[in-house]
């Protein structure tokens, strides 16, 4: 299973990268929206852990792109963001995310959710 992690904070990338590799997934990273789009085009990704606030293209745009691309229709999207208001979370789901996790997050919670979304029943 291939996972893309998108966040402009290198330290967060580092933790998430460690966590996902430990579970045995193949991990790709992107430090901004542009890199994320490139990675999406090149790799057959199954899940994206997506930050929202980024310097060039924001997470909402990336998610919309994923939802509008037929080849990526099976790809899961999890927003991970410090934006934690009710309206932010709702917007995230409206844009098409499969889940929304707020920062700071619990490692266990993320890993559990990723496993759940990538389990055979859900693919």
């Amino acid at each position: 299973m291939k996972i893309l992690i998108v966040d402009d904070e290198p330290n967060i990338l580092m933790s998430l990268d460690f966590l996902m590799r430990k579970e045995g997934y193949e991990v790709f990273v992107a430090r901004n929206g542009t890199e994320a789009l490139e990675s999406l085009a090149q790799n057959q990704l199954d899940l994206v852990l997506l930050d929202i606030m980024m310097p060039d293209v924001d997470g909402y745009e990336i998610c919309k792109h994923i939802r509008q691309t037929p080849e990526l229709e099976h790809c899961k999207v999890i927003f991970i963001s410090a934006k934690s208001k009710e309206s932010d979370i709702q917007k995230g789901y409206e844009i098409g995310a499969d889940f929304y996790i707020t920062k700071p997050f619990s490692n266990k919670a993320i890993v559990t959710k990723v496993k759940e979304l990538l389990s055979p029943i859900n693919s």
Binding site: E9, N11, I12, M53, P55, D56, A82, P104, F105
Partner: protein, 882 residues
Amino acid sequence: MKVALSIVVVILSLLYLILLFGLAYLAERKAESQRSIINSPYIYALSLAVYCTAWTYYGSVGRASKTGLDFLLIYLGPTLSAPLWWFVIRKIIRIAKIQNITNIADLIATRYGKNALLGGVVTIFSVLGIIPYISLQLKAISESFAITISENPNITKPVYIDYAFYITLALALFTIYFGTRQLDLNRKNEGMVFAIAFESVFKLWAFLLVGGYITFFMFDGFTDIFQKAFAKEELKNLLFVDTSDANKALEWFLIGLASMFAVMFLPRQFQMLVAENKQEKHLEKAIWLFPLYLLVINIFVIPIALAGKLFFKEANIDADTYVLALPLANEQYVVALVTYLGGFAAATSMVIVASLALSLMLTNNFFIPIILHFELAKYFRDKQWGKWVLYIRRASIVLVLILAYAYLHFILNTPLVSIGLVSFVAVSQFAPAIIGGLYWKEATRKGAMAGILAGFAVWAYTLVLPTLVANGTFSEKILSEGLWGIAWLKPYALFGLQDLEPVSHSLFWSLLFNVLAYVAVSVYSSQSPQERNQAELFVDVFKYADAYEEAVVWKGIAHKADLENLLSRFLEKEKVRNLLAEFEQENKGKLFENEQERNAKLVKYAEKILASAVGSTSARILVASVVQEEELSQEEVIKILKEAQELKKINFELKKADRLKNEFISTVTHELKTPITSIRSMSEILYENPDLPEEQKRHFLQTVISETERMERLINQVLDLERFESGKQKLYFAKYQINQIVQEAVEIYLGVISEKKFKFNVNLKAENEFIEFDKDRILQVVLNFLSNAVKFAQKEIIVETNSNGRYTQVAVFDDGKGVPAELREAIFEKFFQAENQTIRKPKGSGLGLAISKKIIQYHKGNIGVERKEGLTKFYFTLPNTQ
């Protein structure tokens, strides 16, 4: 034949009235379900066309056939002055909304200190001036009926078979039912307005229909009529204007002026223009839509007049009736019936609105003040005075219509047009008091009273008196020799001003005396504190717009319970409670000097609410009866007004500061979430994975440590910034060389820059003189600039210093993406993340630049960013001497 026709006409009229009732009813129902039909600028503009009455239908053609183009004057005046409405009318609408003013008498009375006597005078004169005009419409209805069924229109009938009588009755019912549905005049009369708008459309359509018929079917189009007219000398003259006659020019000017005033201040116009206005914004469209309507409805007037003269040649047909006579002569009964209905629509709309408007004036400024003065209220059962107010309004409508009918029946015998103009001149007498009241704070009540009395005296003498000569009340000698034989007092030629037609002559002298008296008496009389207060509120209405209650001046003792009781007499208890709750809500967060001030506001609020039921003068009297007012001096009034302005400003500042604080807190907490996320995640990893390789463990722990340092930095920055903003910051000034400090900063970043393989140039071109600044802080700024440059540069960074005699500049250039022009100010603000922003500002530069800006400000220097030769330049300048 005649009987059949009259039955048809009666039935048609009845059907039309039923249609009118139906439309009005529909509009009321829609309004109740919150979908107001009349909330449209087009309906608003159409409702203003109530200006066009039977006069437009019959009188214009009549006048055009006698004197040519001057019938257009009463439409030109409003058209030319319409742009001014945006200033004058909008101001009046605003004032009317704020103070719950619903008619001209209330407007004038309120402006001049809520004076009941002045209100009463305006009401009496309005009634005197407008009743004849209403009679005229009734006469037009009955005459047009007679002509349509080919009867002699000049036979006077006994009342019980007089067609006009029954129409008057029906109109009274309509006005009562749709004009007095509720006590609160804030709620608009949706049904009535819609009905009037419909009538405007109908009468326009009908007039165009008959005009079109006459022009294109009885003749061969415009060219045909005009060609035939040109062939006859006397007709040709109708089409031209004699520009050499100075008297004519003056007359034209005066009539245009009178109609300018009339279109704004006639009671029916004020009712539609101001009282029934739903949104100020509708005025924008009305300013051009209404003149457009006037243009279209007048297109066929000249052709019809000419056609009439051509067709009837020497026959003795009253030109006023051409519009009906022409189709009838050709046995086009359908066209004639439509025309008749059009005129019917025009006349009925005037009657409805005018009688409503007059009834409001009579109720608020005549009957209720009398009741209050003679303490007749004790005869009402204590409970619902509100119901009595409604009854009085309805009785006033009936009174007005009875008077109008009586006038018609017993007195009226003059041609259609000039009575209208007499009303115009009457209404013009209010113009100085109103317009002066809007723009001249020193205008006083005594001045207004003097002006209005003087104006009406002259009006009565020059226009009303002569009609009383005509029916024998006064001797003819007054006209030919002047009062008591004094030639200068001839009603038609005062002070020797001959050669003017009676109407313009009257307007000239009445306005002259009016304005002179108004200005002279205002200048020499003083204002009561109430007047002074109202003057401020009128002239500066836009300034006080949201702070009306703060700006109203009152001192005394008031108890909320008493006011609540008073209001409950007029409005339902539930509504009163809601209104008072609204008041509490509005004033929750506001500053008050003391409890007494709060009561003053409540008193004024109660007065305003009552004004929507009984008008502001009576409201004042009523409220005064349940509270204890204290006399205020002029100085106190002005002082309170100034304080109100101050308070308003303070409250605004407080709200703004509060909002900024909240935004700041949310941004900072947001920023802190990022390092906390890393710290938590990494710590959890370290905890769950004790068997990690040492190298990795150390790497993660290092990250945790540096993130805590990052949080510490952020918190320190916030505190630092707070100290700057509250003025508690201390800077230590001493003399240094700028190049030295810049060099220090450069050395700190040298490692990072060479690691990233940037091209790096340092040009320290500033003089080596010693200037005063805080070394550590300026170093901080330069380090901040370098840190940003390193983050954004792609290949090149340049550092420069420069100086001239008075300033020294330090600049850092990078070849990165740069800052868009519109963000170059904002980037130095303390938080640069609006609620919905998703493009993140580069890390760290958030507060860093804000602090840099504060530091430079404390040095009395400048800081900024610009684009120069393809590079982004961050710079600051310091004065060489502090």
